[in-house]
């Protein structure tokens, strides 16, 4: 048994569009241990969702294509698997919860059916009744009240938060080893967000499932994850245990992100500091550090050479910056 559950090495996922090749994920490497909770943070278009979709091999193709690297799941390269092997893996070993629960469930099937369908797909020889039982059990686990009755309802009879619980139930129904949650709380009310995160974290722990939580919200990561990856323009710019990200951020982009979120312990009236400028156009060749045009500490070297991800001398912390703080 390999030590790492997931090992992504030099992953490159490009989109071949009319206006050029968009390097959505460019040379990304990271690892996840079994049961670990990993946060992937970055703004829209940073490549975090595409990284997730690459792992489950659901990048829309065309125009998307994984052009390089390897993704080792339990030591086996997912990119070498054929379609049948991939469908075996999806929903059973690797599951995914998506951003918008309002549209992620099929409107014409009952909730119970949609959960049972996954169970039936992956557990050979299970009867319809047993699959339905499992569906009710899962609804119970995600704390849907009156699960037995509610299983017979359709998605439109549930609220957004409830539907996201259902999505989590579908994702966890077959005890996966890895749960990828792509902005699972972005579309929900703030009050519901905390509940959903709590639920997901708790269940992942209970099931021994590793959790990859993709978000643009560092606050979400703080309470949920053990390790954080910060992505920018298709690259990982910083990777560190969650405490170090908040206490001693090394990359200027991470620092910028932290300064742009409000904090309770700050003096009232303190202004938030936004990051100036826009992320780069990924369909153009980027020379040097992709963050250089927006970086407050930019040096001539940053515009000529791309910094590699390397240790910054504080344990497991890595940063892709020539001049880390």
């Amino acid at each position: 048994m390999p030590e790492n559950l997931l090992e992504v090495n030099n992953l490159k996922t490009y989109f071949f569009t009319r206006s050029g090749v968009v390097k959505a994920v460019d040379d990304v490497s990271f690892t996840m241990r079994p049961g670990e909770a990993l946060g992937v943070v970055g703004e829209s278009g940073s490549g975090k969702s595409v990284t997730a979709l690459s792992i489950i091999r659901l990048v829309a193709s065309p125009p998307g294509k994984i052009v390089g690297g390897e993704i080792l799941f339990n030591g086996e390269n997912i990119l070498e698997k054929n379609n049948d092997e991939m469908t075996e893996l999806r929903g059973s070993k690797i599951s995914m919860v998506f951003q918008d629960p309002m549209t992620s469930l099929n409107p014409v099937f009952t909730i119970g059916y949609q959960i049972a369908e996954t169970v039936k797909r992956h557990r050979k020889g299970i009867s319809n009744d047993q699959a339905w039982q499992r569906a009710v059990e899962m609804l119970d686990l995600v704390r849907i009240p009156d699960a037995r009755r509610r299983a017979k309802n359709y998605p439109h009879e549930f609220s957004g938060g409830m539907r996201q619980r259902v999505m989590i139930a579908i994702a966890l129904a077959c005890n996966p080893q890895l749960l990828i949650a792509d902005e699972p709380t972005t579309a929900l009310d703030v009050t519901i967000q905390a509940q959903i995160l709590e639920l997901m974290k708790g269940l992942a722990k209970e099931f021994g499932t590793a959790l990859m939580l993709i978000t643009h919200d560092l606050g979400v990561v703080a309470g949920t994850c053990e390790h954080v990856i910060v992505m920018y323009a298709g690259h990982i710019v910083e990777s560190a245990p969650v405490r170090q990200i908040f206490q001693t951020p090394a990359h200027p982009y991470t620092i910028g992100l932290l300064q742009s979120i409000p904090r309770l312990d700050e003096k009232r009236g303190t202004r938030l500091t936004p990051i100036p400028g826009q992320p780069p156009d990924l369909s153009r060749e980027i020379i040097g550090c992709p963050y250089a045009p927006r970086c407050p500490r930019v040096q001539p070297r940053c515009r000529q050479e791309r910094p590699e991800l390397k240790p910054v001398g504080r344990g497991e912390q890595l940063a892709a910056c020539f001049y880390p703080s």
């Binding site: 998506f98 549209t103 409107p107 996954t118 992956h122």
Partner: protein, 319 residues
Amino acid sequence: MIQFLIKRLIGLVFVVIGVTFITFIMGYFAPGDPIRTMLGEHFSPQLYAQLRHAYGLDLPWYEQYWNFLVHLAHFDFGYSFKTQGRPVWDILKDGVPVSMELALWALVIYLLIGVPVGIISALKANTWVDTLNMGIMLVLYAMPIFVFCVLVQVLIVFIDQETGANWPVANWGTPWHYTWTDIQFKLAPVLVFGLAGAAYFARITRTSMLEVMRQDYIRTARAKGLPERLVIYRHALRNALIPLITVTGVTLGFTITGAFLIENIFNIPGIGTITVSSVLDRDYPVIQATAVLLAIGVVLGNLLADIAYTLVDPRIKLE
């Protein structure tokens, strides 16, 4: 549900009144005189006045219309002007089964050819398969139906001459009978009608399917590990067919009145042919009756579509 049906049937009465009113007024004010048409060039004024009175045409228009409605309430469409004294229903009753037969077989072709072609095109979107399919469908859809009919007839004649086959170019067999001769008569018009409509169905199916395949729940279905076959036929198709129900319902409604052009060109004794000749003859009672049939057909077709919706889409409840 029962309440919904009752409401709809009451609505139907008003639709029929509206439709008959409009057709009546248009007929009343249109130039031309049915009695003169009936009598020809030479007639005595006395006979003319007698006939006008016999058909109630000497009454003011509102009384004529009222009489028509009263008769209609008793399912009596009155008497034809043209075939002096023959009840309208007597003329129509032979046409209805013929028109329905033609249209229902055409509908079968819409669904059996149009829908699968649309699905294949959507799944192979923007490949040569899609382009070829949609190219053929566009030609079928865009070609005027009378051109299509005549082309087919010319083709049949050509084949008959070349091979000595005696395939008929026009006419219809016995309604709802399928001996070899019947099939020979019916095949060409059904195919023409069916393919023209199938083209329309294919385009709608393709659009709808493409739309559904982009939905988040399709990605969810894939993320569950379902094989592509189930993703398409279980998760996508059922959603994609919802818009088709409307179109099918309306099409069903028009089946009763038949296809005006196809029936005329192929000399099929359906309601379409009867309608066209009654318009040419200014045979108002027959025109009125076909308009009523069409109105009833469209309303019932839509009603069926609404009921079908509730079976397919759980979000829709009838009230």
